[in-house]
């Protein structure tokens, strides 16, 4: 019994990761397909990588998506973190109402937010474009950064703050030296999640992207009509490669820094 339990968790994790990566494997394999199909194998070729690199639409879409993902994740993480800190660390009236307000974008169907945003931008005369796209993505990301950071902050032992205060630290010092380092993993995962949410967003983007700011998902969805080719797989494969590279570099550094003291 004990052994079975001990095996269950790693086994489930392994299966979970297989489940997540099996489609990616298929995706990457077909990026090297010689034919035009994403389902029938017709020999090895690198041609689709070249095609993906020269496709103006895909390149433009990728550029828009990256800029918007970074900008909206920075903003959403900052806003969500400050809101979470206020809720956990500060006394103020209407706390529940405030939390509900911050989480609310999560519970409204995205299409409603999207249509509402579109009408609101028109009333204010703001032109559709990068500005509205980033604003829309910030809106849908804030609840995630807020909830993640708040969960972590509410798990912090309040006695840590008291101990620091007893040792003569002022509010800012407590925040910079104690709270922030403890919350950093949560803030980082909030940032990553926000960036991913923005990169993958479809519904809001459909409505609030404007002239010259069509992000990648919209670009690709539009390509479905004329049929998907392994060009898309090639783009996906390159994105995976970049991600793995970034992770290896970041993790390499991270592993070094934690090995040294021990």
């Amino acid at each position: 019994m004990r052994k079975m339990l001990a095996l269950y968790v790693p086994a489930a994790t392994l299966l979970g990761y297989v489940f997540l990566f099996a489609p990616l494997l298929v995706l990457v394999i077909y990026a090297f397909n010689g034919g035009r199909s994403t389902v029938v194998w017709e020999g090895f070729s690198l041609a689709w990588f070249a095609e993906a690199l020269v496709d103006r639409g895909l390149r433009a879409g990728l550029q828009v998506s990256v800029i918007v993902a970074i900008a909206s994740a920075v903003l959403a993480t900052a806003i969500g973190t400050s809101a979470a800190l206020a809720v956990v660390k500060r006394p103020f009236a209407g706390k529940n109402l405030f939390s509900t307000l911050v989480i609310a974008p999560l519970v409204l169907p995205e299409i409603v937010l999207a249509v509402g945003l579109l009408v609101a931008t028109v009333w204010t005369g703001v032109p559709l474009g990068y500005g509205t796209l980033i604003a829309g993505h910030v809106l849908v990301s804030i609840p995630f950064s807020f909830l993640i950071v708040r969960a972590a902050a509410s798990g912090l032992d309040p006695r840590l703050d008291e101990a620091a205060a007893d040792l003569g630290a002022n509010g800012r010092q407590i925040f910079v030296r104690v709270t922030l380092p403890l919350l950093l993993p949560a803030i980082l995962s909030a940032f990553l999640l926000c960036a991913v949410i923005s990169f993958d967003n479809f519904v809001v983007s459909t409505f609030v992207s404007g002239v010259g700011s069509t992000p990648l998902p919209i670009q690709i969805y539009a390509m479905l009509k004329t049929g998907l080719t392994p060009k898309i797989n090639a783009l996906g494969a390159m994105l995976i490669a970049v991600n793995v590279l970034v992770i290896l570099v970041v993790m390499g550094r991270y592993l070094k820094t934690i090995r040294k003291p021990s």
Binding site: I111, G116, L117, I232, L239, I247
Partner: protein, 286 residues
């Protein structure tokens, strides 16, 4: 400046950005949507502001009932499956993975840098009649003829799990990673079996994360629309499809807005429950 006033200023500074974005990007658009749900429709997709209950009356006809039930059922089933698969993964990353935790977390997010449509088409390759899984099963002699998977309910669930697994794992991981390992050691020293210490210590402490995960999966699952269309054949319509159909295809903005308001009401109930449970968990801990 006196200390309390300074404290108030800090609080205000922390609250200001989210309040501003909530008013500009959320409150105003929502008010517009609510106003539209009482508006009158004209033939060419415009809407005249006014006060009529036509849209709500239309919505509460029997024809729309199956749509609400379908959506509710899909959301519940998806949430349960995501938790069953996601919890052990979060547990492993937080408590067993050691220094590889960061790597595993990062890997978890990789699929989501690939466009959603492309990911779903990869699943269509796996699940297709001549796809990878059918070919393997026929090759192994498990089945004689390829079976139909695309256009079925289980295929939709696979898609839902694929879409929402990371959003399930992350909050549970966040809650579990704050767990003090010494608590478990202490329990172990006191002779508790792993199962006992899990139910008595780990699980209660991870509850805020589980609640957040439920919220992250259940609510978006109520409004999802692309997955049932691509993997399920789109034969049974759910709320997400209905809203898209009403806003875009039918250009019936008032009715679309009314459906949205009802969905907003359902979601609000869930959020209130979430807040209640979270508060009681936090109080129990103090």
């Amino acid at each position: 400046m006196t200390a309390p006033r300074r404290g108030n200023l800090v609080t205000l500074a922390l609250l200001a950005p989210s309040l501003l974005s909530a008013i500009l990007l959320l409150a105003i658009p929502i008010l517009i949507v609510i106003a539209f749900s009482f508006a009158e429709q004209d033939t060419y997709g415009g809407a005249k502001f006014g006060f009529t209950l036509t849209s709500y009356r239309e919505l509460f006809q029997a024809i729309y009932l199956p749509i609400f039930l379908n959506s509710l059922q899909l959301a519940v089933v998806s949430t349960v499956i995501c938790l069953l698969v996601g919890y052990p993964i979060a547990y492993f990353i937080a408590l067993r993975a050691g220094r590889y935790a960061g790597l595993l977390l990062a890997l978890l997010l990789i699929p989501f840098w690939i466009d959603f449509i492309v990911r779903m088409s990869a699943w269509m390759v796996l699940l297709g009649r001549n796809g990878t899984i059918n070919s393997a099963l026929v090759g192994l002699g498990v089945i004689e003829q390829p079976i139909r998977m695309i256009g079925t309910y289980p295929a939709v669930l696979v898609g839902m799990l694929y879409a929402f697994l990371p959003t399930t794992v992350l909050p549970i991981y966040a809650a579990l990673s704050g767990l003090d390992g010494r608590l478990l050691e202490a329990a172990d020293d006191l002779g508790a079996t792993p199962l006992q210490s899990f139910w008595r210590i780990t699980f209660p402490l991870s509850l805020p994360g589980v609640m957040a995960a439920i919220l992250f999966v259940f609510v978006p699952a109520m409004g999802v629309y692309a997955i049932p269309v691509l993997l399920g054949g789109g034969k049974s319509i759910i709320l997400g499809n209905l809203i898209v159909q009403l806003f875009l295809d039918f250009r019936n903005i008032p009715l679309g807005a009314a459906v949205s308001v009802v969905l907003l009401a359902i979601s609000s109930v869930i959020i209130v429950c979430y807040m209640r449970v979270l508060r009681s968990v936090e109080e129990a801990r103090v």
